[in-house]
Amino acid sequence: MKTFEENWTAWLDDQLSGRELSEFEAALPDKAAAQAEKAEAKKLGGLLKRELSARPLKNEEFFSHQLRERIVQESGEHPRERARRSPTSSWWTIPRLLWAGTASLAVFLICTVFVMHQERPPEESQYLTQILNARVDPVVSPNGTVSIFEVKQDRVTVLWTEGLQTLPADYAAK
């Protein structure tokens, strides 16, 4: 069962015929007004068809040349490259950023290790404690002297004093 609107649209487009047409036209309250409306609609349809139809291109040769070039370009490209250029795929995706960061860090570490290996190893004396200066009080110990020994085998530095005053055993108290 068609609605009135469906029948109306079909009537405007001359799609109704026979019994359907006669029944619909009989149902119209004002047939003259409806006919006028139908004529207006046909006029409007014709106008739209005319105005919206594709206009002929004026620079046909120019466009066809451009089109040919584009076709040649695209046919020369690898399908994968074409997919890469598609708007859905961007190079700077999160996994790629992660890989780029990882690769950069790895390169940095390799360079650091390389530079560190290039540097001369620290001398033995840097591992040993160094005496920069030493003095005994000349008033308390006028004959006092100091000597420095670096025992590399045990990695110990000894500051050896001589001539300090000898003290009684009581001084060993805690």
Binding site: L105, P122, Q126, D137, T157, L159, T166, A169, Y171, A172
Partner: protein, 147 residues
């Protein structure tokens, strides 16, 4: 799932790069030690076990007894502290951290009398032993160790 290896490698590399930057504070043990020759020597204090062989060989004593000590945690490398016994005092003044150690100014006092003053770059791997005055039949030693 191809993202997970990248994350793991990234975190590992980041950890290895950043981790060495964080270093723990270090302790310096400073002790006043009386070295003596006795018939029944006591076991050497734990702080000196690392250099026991050297002490015995170098100074010729068989017993090493701690009569005063101090253990200081260095955070800035600018700290100062005192290790004392009844009659001796060792004042240690740290004057900054250098590559692999600390610059220390050391003063040995007998009561209020300054006996010895020295400035040393104490390495983290190398203890410092100072021979002090003779005390009775033994010897006063000053020992500094980064622990």
């Amino acid at each position: 799932m191809h993202r997970s290896p990248a994350v793991v490698i990234f975190v590992l590399l980041l950890t290895t790069t950043v981790a060495p930057a964080s270093q723990a504070a270090e302790k310096v043990w400073s002790g006043l030690v009386i070295a003596e020759n006795v018939t029944e020597p006591q076991p050497i204090p734990s702080e000196l076990t690392r250099i026991e062989g050297l002490l015995k060989k170098f100074f010729g004593y068989n017993q090493f007894k701690v009569i005063g000590q101090s253990q200081k945690t260095l955070k800035t490398g600018q700290e100062d502290w005192l290790a004392t016994s009844k009659f001796f005092g060792l004042h240690v003044d740290a004057r900054g951290e250098t590559e692999g150690g600390y610059v220390l100014n050391l003063k040995l006092y007998k009561e209020k009398e300054l006996l010895l003053e020295t400035e040393a770059k104490l390495s983290k791997r190398s203890p410092l032993v100072i021979k002090g005055p003779q005390v009775g039949g033994g010897q006063l030693l000053l020992v500094l160790v980064v622990q």
